[in-house]
């Protein structure tokens, strides 16, 4: 396999173009509702990127987004769609809270944090593992199961926070605060930016190496692109499916754990609302690459942080959801056109040999179509 420089250069161009186009639409929407998008853009840069507190907010949001993106990206490599990062984050938060609340105040901080973190990863892995097992053993569409399980998880958390884990005498359904000893140290003094992001960055690098440089990663890739060939080559596709899902879920579970022990310090319904779905955007923007997910997560964190600025300018923050949806649609369309050589034809350069798979290639929805850039 030789490195195709032209492809490499063309790689980020399409997602970036999709983002720019979607932002332009967002700008039009803001203009339509009486805002000044240019001025607002300047305000966002001032308040988020050039401000100590803004940067800390951005970093605090980037941690769960990056981990949620990895939760989608790992199964994606195996040709699987994990639409359940949302639920896996909730379950990670639940498991981490249960462990964190049982920590004595005089416990060793490192041990306590590690225990809560691992519990969170376990919670996410188990929740995602169910969908993996159903897919591997019964062939049940993982998109539907992971989606439906999000609603089950949300209600489980809501139940836990209003029943078994409810803080005594609390006016609203939330758990007691976790002890100081399990709280994540901060990256920036007096802010909300905790070290969860550093763990997320490390997980991204490890995931990239595992996927790109190990025999396991190669197996995942083959299982994703050609399950028939993988089976023939002695790769246990079913086991790969379950492991890819469990690892993805573990990353999401970490996000949930960090959200509790790093930021919110207690459990309540919807404590990490929307991060799982944003994780999908992160993963697809990054073409399923954990390292590019860092860039995509930073961008999505910027969008999320910008919501505060939008609101303070009296504008409607739902424009951000529209922009996200457009980014996914534009990026998915653009990458497909690129893969099929449409841009090459458009610019009438030397056309590379067509690499698209024949339309009759392989069976199910999840086995077809890859989202690599």
């Amino acid at each position: 396999m030789s490195v195709d420089l032209r492809r490499l250069a063309a790689g980020p161009a399409v997602p970036v173009g999709a983002v720019v186009l979607a932002l332009a639409v967002g700008g039009l929407l803001i203009a339509a509702t009486g805002g000044d998008p240019i001025d607002l853009g300047g305000q966002i840069v001032d308040r988020v990127l050039l401000d100590y507190w803004g940067i800390s907010d951005l970093l605090a949001r980037m941690a769960p987004l990056l981990l949620a993106g990895i939760a989608v990206a790992i199964p994606l490599r195996a040709g699987l769609y994990n639409v359940g990062a949302e639920g896996q984050i909730y379950m990670g938060g639940l498991f981490a809270t249960v462990v964190a609340l049982r920590m004595p105040d005089d416990a060793n901080a490192l041990l306590a944090i590690t225990a809560a973190t691992l519990a969170g990863a376990l919670g996410g892995a188990l929740w995602a593992g169910i969908a993996g097992v159903l897919k591997a053993r019964r062939g049940i569409d993982e998109v539907v199961t992971t989606l439906l399980m999000n609603y089950v998880a949300l209600n489980l958390i809501s139940y836990a926070a209003s029943g078994p884990l409810k803080a005594p005498g609390a006016p609203y359904p939330y758990s007691p605060e976790v002890p100081d000893i399990v709280r994540l140290p901060l990256m920036m003094a007096d802010t909300e930016a905790h070290i969860g992001l550093l763990v997320g960055l490390a997980v991204a690098v490890i995931a990239r190496i595992a996927l790109a440089r190990t025999a396991w990663g190669f197996g995942v890739e083959v299982a994703g692109k050609a399950p028939g060939a993988a089976h023939y080559a002695g790769i246990a596709v079913g086991r790969t499916t379950i492991i890819a899902f469990a690892l993805g879920g573990a990353a999401a579970g970490l996000a949930g754990a960090f959200e509790v022990i790093g930021l919110k310090h207690r459990l309540f319904a919807g404590f990490a609302s929307g991060y799982g779905y944003d994780g999908l955007v992160v993963a697809f923007l990054a073409g399923g690459d954990p390292v590019w997910s860092m860039v995509a997560a930073a961008f999505m964190a910027l969008l999320r942080t910008a919501v505060t600025t939008l609101k303070s300018a009296g504008l409607d923050a739902t424009a951000v959801t529209i922009v996200q949806g457009l980014i996914v649609l534009f990026a998915a369309s653009g990458l497909a056109l690129q893969r099929h050589g449409a841009f090459d034809r458009l610019f009438a350069r030397t056309r590379p040999a067509p690499t698209q798979p024949p339309a009759s290639a392989s069976g199910t929805a999840s086995a077809s179509g890859t989202v690599q850039p």
Partner: protein
Amino acid sequence: MIDLFTNPTALADLFATMLRLSVPLVFAAIGGVFSERAGMVNISLEGSMILGAFGASWGAIAGGSAGFGVVAGALAGGLLGAGFGIATVYAGANQIVAGIGANLLGLGVAAFLHRLTATGRAAENRVPGFADITIPGLADIPIVGKALFATDPMTWAAILAVPLAALVLARTGLGLRLKAVGENPRAADVAGLSVRLYRLGAVTLCGMLAGLGGAVLVLSQVFLFTEGMTAGKGFIAVAAVILGRWSPLGAAAACLLFGLSDAIQLRLQFANTDVPYQLFVVLPYLAAILTLVGLVGRSRAPQASGQFYRRESR
């Protein structure tokens, strides 16, 4: 719980609730069947439903009657379906990925427009919806009478849409061509069918039907649009399509099953106020997952489902 099945009034109530909760799902699921039979996995039903719900609310208020709401709801859902179709059929975007994007877009646009148009006064946001039409005599039939013959027009539209969709798919040239496009697009193409046009048409119709499903929520049930009011119903409809093995009758049966589990959970919720409601709320979702586990192993999706068709690759 026991008297639920022995007491005729309670049973009639349960039946009526089941039907009412199934109707939005039935519209969306029939749409899903058309889409999937044409080879398009469409998980953007949720987005089309919420847009349909908003469209219906806006249309009914602006036009002053439920009829405008139905049209606007179907159009709003269909627009998203067409957008999804252009991205997947013409640009070749992955159907699952584009479906996720379309769901986000539908959710965002519905919320955005709602906040733009809704006024602070609740009375002005109330939607002129459908009233129940009671057919004397028939409505007195025990158990099913009240549910079937003292109901709103949308319920009847749903009941009629199921056999109509089955008929179209099984007995008309249009249905045959749609299925050909979904089973073997290359053969359909060789036979002179425009695969892309049929697929775009199928997902647009699918979006319109899902939009109608959302419209039912507003026009027949809640009489008010609220953000996130579809709460995963579109995804349950997707599960119903699979569970019903890609047939309108099967999908409708699956919707009734989900409606029944939803009706039972509501009943249990009100009867057991000391038990946390969340434990009941999850029942329909669990029912959907468990029935998939129990039943789906033996079914087969349309051959070309989920695959991009590219003419040049012939």
